[in-house]
Symmetry: C2
DNA sequence: TGTATTTTATTTGTCGACAAGAATTTTACG
DNA sequence: CGTAAAATTCTTGTCGACAAATAAAATACA
């Protein structure tokens, strides 16, 4: 570890919690920190070269978002993925796809459309590169940008949380299903959604969002089913 | 203030944050701490007879729920009610009423029904007593119990947050609209919802929940409109 | 007297340390 | 050799203190 041993705190005041929060959050969603793994405060404090106090505040924030679970007086662990309630997740995810896209059709501004198009371009590049990781996060960012155009912070927050949880699930079960050279179905679906939002066709947005969500849900379910078959050798 | 001056910390370890969190949360939703009022860490530390550290962790939690806003390196204040986006609030609230009641019809167990009936009884008692405060919180608890029966933690969390925000808004604008001796419309509406949930009539639940939500939204809008007319003397 | 600048004061963000509680290991005893 | 009790280690929850950043007050100056 080549860090600066004698350096005084080379970090801006107040940025400590955010740093720890963002890094931990990313590592949890990446599964770099797999579900159930213990989160040691002192180890993190050493790693980020800061005291335990900002680490704890970052953990409190992560607990509020359901990404870690704190056992009182015992260790805090990375939250498990709630498989028993997976259909609740699918249900909420589908609904949020629909309502955010509908609202985007109603309330988007020209700036929103530019933002959405930019995200879609980044996503398309990730698909072209065949980079699964970036595909997942860019897909998330694309739909978040649509939700932002819908201007409902309550939906936006829940939707973002659901998309993040989906990121964990996808990363856990991902198998390369699509040939990278063929046009990715998400690309064309995204383009259809963009067009429907642009012309403010609420009904069409609802249908397209539902189809998109259903496809993603089906994809995840297929991956899980395939995985389960391997797991259970009765 | 009759507190124990020389007493050593007469409080269980680990209960400090929860105590501060719950009290502050209640006072914010009560408008005992009105929106925009500053939250002084040292004053709270003295008041709760604890160090600033647990106070800060409670504030981080509250910030995660959007109940306080932290200006970096500056004071943290009780979050304002977002009037410009009030229709976003109404939209989300109505949707959550609908989906949670629908899911309750699908998935409720006998225990859930008992719980729901108990909450309704408590609510009815608050109505009979004409206690507006308890009416608001008991109404919240009633709908939360329905959402719990729906078994979707994502909806439950958002719904609870929306109902809490509604508690603040109602407390801000409440005028006694109903004669306490007459049967309160919410009572009969609740009873209709309970019956529809019990017989698992999803469609009826959806309609009743929507009507109920619409009525609450209209009530709030009326109160705000009445208030605005007084405020603006052009 | 009004404005700009320095000084003071207040409040936050962070730190190191200590004590309580739980998990683990060691010891005692059958 | 196995089980129960005691001691130890380890991690967390809390505390008091210090320094940075901001706000407020005081001072200088036109």
């Amino acid at each position: 570890m080549v860090d600066t041993p004698s350096a005084p705190p080379e970090r801006k005041r107040g940025s400590g919690v955010r740093l720890a929060y963002e890094v931990l959050r990313d590592e949890i969603l990446d599964l770099t920190l797999p579900p159930g793994s213990p989160v040691d405060e002192v180890a993190l404090a050493e790693r980020f070269a800061m005291s335990r106090t900002p680490i704890r505040e970052a953990l409190v924030r992560l607990e509020g978002e359901g990404l870690v679970t704190t056992l009182p007086n015992r260790s805090t662990v990375v939250a498990n993925i709630d498989f028993p309630n997976l259909n609740a997740f699918f249900d909420a995810l589908t609904l949020m796809y629909r309502v955010t896209t509908r609202l985007a059709a109603e309330f988007h501004t020209p700036d929103d459309m530019q933002n959405i198009l930019a995200r879609q371009a980044v996503f398309a590049r990730a698909v072209a590169d065949g980079d699964e990781q970036r595909m997942i996060t860019c897909n998330r960012d694309f739909h978040v940008s649509i939700a932002e155009a819908g201007r409902n912070p309550y939906y936006l927050q829940l939707f973002a949380r659901l998309l993040d949880e989906g990121r964990r699930i996808l990363r856990l079960y991902y198998y390369p299903t699509f040939q990278p050279s063929l046009p990715h179905p998400y690309i064309t679906e995204h383009e259809a959604i963009i067009a429907a939002v642009a012309v403010r066709d609420v009904g069409l947005c609802d249908r397209l969002a539902k189809d998109h969500a259903d496809q993603i849900v089906r994809q995840i379910q297929d991956m899980i089913a395939r995985d389960r078959r391997q797991d259970i050798p009765l």
